[in-house]
């Protein structure tokens, strides 16, 4: 039997109105579910993992509805259980209307209104979808263990998005302006520690984020510059606190036939003011922290990939030896079918900041720990 020839590749477009098949439906749906198992030494992560924990799963479903060539709606609802840090309750991940202001073959601009995802680094906007992450657990760059997901993750407001395509490169821009929002008591506890035992109100004020990304055709190389700024205020009967938080990040990725290399760096600057009127006390300060990682993926074949990553963080640039932490990760990913994904990872951890405090309440966090994690995921 003669083998088919793939020498030619012809691109074609349909011209006639359909008679046998319908055009693309205005509504499309998607979903995903993933379940992990964790076993660790010395510290717990996502449940009692020193004894083995199944308390790590994610599930989400959403859709995209095209009302007209200029207006569409998108939404996704999501539940996540991750030890004591996330309790599995369903929340609205994003829900927005997208208005296309202009569109050509080389450029376009649109405006979204509603709850939109903040674009930060390569992975924040899809950080809860196992199929889009670079590994089961994200690197410290994404502040996973700090319990501040709700601050970072999405904004209720407006988002401007644009693209420009040239023959040799492309540019994308996303800018988000969020409105003030209340912050949950768990998040306050994660940020302010013991001060959070005081009853009070916390609010995230005027969050803004922006990302400019660029790449070569086909993403052989791509890069992104990300920015996030917000003020976090805490008001109780005895303490007023204001944290002005700015994150800046640079991301770079190379994609070859067999190998991908990804590096991301972030600088976080926090200007803090604490006022305790009862004690006539005013304290101000500035802390700068840095996080960076380098990950290499090697595709053995279409289904099987192995990867390694070194991930480092300085909690306070002024005290590098007392606040640094690092995570070395070795992992493998197997995707036997487009809808199924399995992964396994080993983490060697030095330092305490990659460990969620909330999963280790009542016990001292050990300086060194190891994790073994497996995860299975299904999508539609």
């Amino acid at each position: 039997m003669k083998k088919p020839s793939y020498r030619l590749a012809l691109m074609l477009a349909g011209l006639l109105s359909g008679n046998g098949f319908a055009e693309q439906q205005p509504l499309s749906l998607h979903g995903f579910v993933s379940q992990g198992y964790l076993y660790s030494k010395n510290n717990d992560i996502f449940g009692d993992s020193t004894d083995g924990s199944w308390e790590y799963h994610e599930a989400g479903a959403g859709g995209h509805y095209r009302l007209s060539s200029r207006i569409s709606f998108s939404g996704q609802w999501f539940a996540r259980d991750a030890g004591r840090g996330d309790n599995g309750s369903v929340r609205t991940d994003y829900l927005y209307a997208d208005l296309l202001l202009s569109q050509g073959t080389d450029s376009g601009t649109g405006l979204r209104f509603g709850r939109v995802r903040n674009h930060f680094g390569f992975y924040n906007s899809t950080r809860d979808v196992f199929f889009t992450r670079p590994s089961i657990l994200l690197p410290q760059f994404y502040l996973e263990s700090f319990g501040v997901r709700e601050l970072f993750f999405s904004s209720d407001g407006a988002q401007l998005h644009s693209y420009w395509d040239e023959k040799d490169y492309y540019l994308n821009f996303t800018g988000t302006f969020g409105k003030n929002k209340e912050v949950g008591s768990d998040t306050v506890a994660n940020i302010l520690g013991s001060a959070a035992t005081l009853a009070g109100d916390a609010e995230l004020q005027s969050p803004i984020s922006a990302q400019l990304s660029a790449g070569l055709p086909g993403d052989r190389w791509k890069t992104a510059l990300s920015y996030f700024n917000a003020a976090l205020t805490f008001d109780s009967t005895s303490v007023l606190a204001n944290l002005d938080v700015t994150l800046t990040a640079l991301s770079l990725q190379y994609n070859g036939r067999k190998t991908s290399v990804t590096a991301e760096y972030s600088l976080t600057s926090i200007n803090s003011t604490f006022i305790a009127p009862a004690f006539n006390l005013v304290a101000t300060g500035n802390t700068k922290s840095e996080a960076a990682y380098l990950q290499m993926d090697y595709r053995i074949d279409e289904q099987f990939t192995v990867y390694g990553r070194f991930d480092h963080r300085l909690g306070d640039r002024e005290q590098p030896n007392r606040t640094d932490s690092s995570v070395a990760t070795l992992g493998s990913r197997w995707q036997p079918h487009p809808q199924w994904l399995f992964a396994a990872e080993l983490h060697g951890i030095r330092g305490t900041t990659p460990i969620p405090i909330i999963d280790n309440r009542g016990s001292e966090i050990a300086e060194r720990s190891e994790h073994f994690i497996i995860m299975a995921g299904y999508r539609f």
Binding site: G14, Q24, Y170, R257, P338
Partner: protein, 103 residues
């Protein structure tokens, strides 16, 4: 880019990632690899920015679906008999075709 200039939605048909023609199309036209293309689609789907392409199993099915669907786009590896109702917008010898379709 989600629609053609006349407002018709763009419907994208593709072959499976492991199909040799899909690999050839990715490397020839898109200057990329199937895993990168899949990553881009996933990002669009899970941020709500777009919809996935429709996967078909054979080049014959792909041609028939493109032929019968207004605003559809796809690729084939040989000239079929009846091409009166499709427009060829690029060939290997003419790779100036726009490479990016945005959703």
């Amino acid at each position: 880019m989600k629609t053609w200039p006349d407002g018709t939605p763009i419907t994208v048909f593709v072959l499976p990632d492991t199909h040799p023609l899909h690999l050839r199309f990715c490397t020839l036209y898109l200057k990329t690899f199937p895993y990168v293309l899949k990553r881009q689609w996933n990002h669009l789907i899970f941020t709500g920015s777009g919809v996935r392409p429709i996967e078909v199993s054979t080049t014959y099915n792909l041609f028939e679906r493109v032929r019968a669907t207004p605003g559809a786009i796809g690729y084939i590896n040989r000239l079929p008999g009846n091409t009166s109702d499709v427009k060829f917008v690029g060939t290997e010898a003419n790779s100036e075709t726009k490479r990016t379709i945005r959703f």
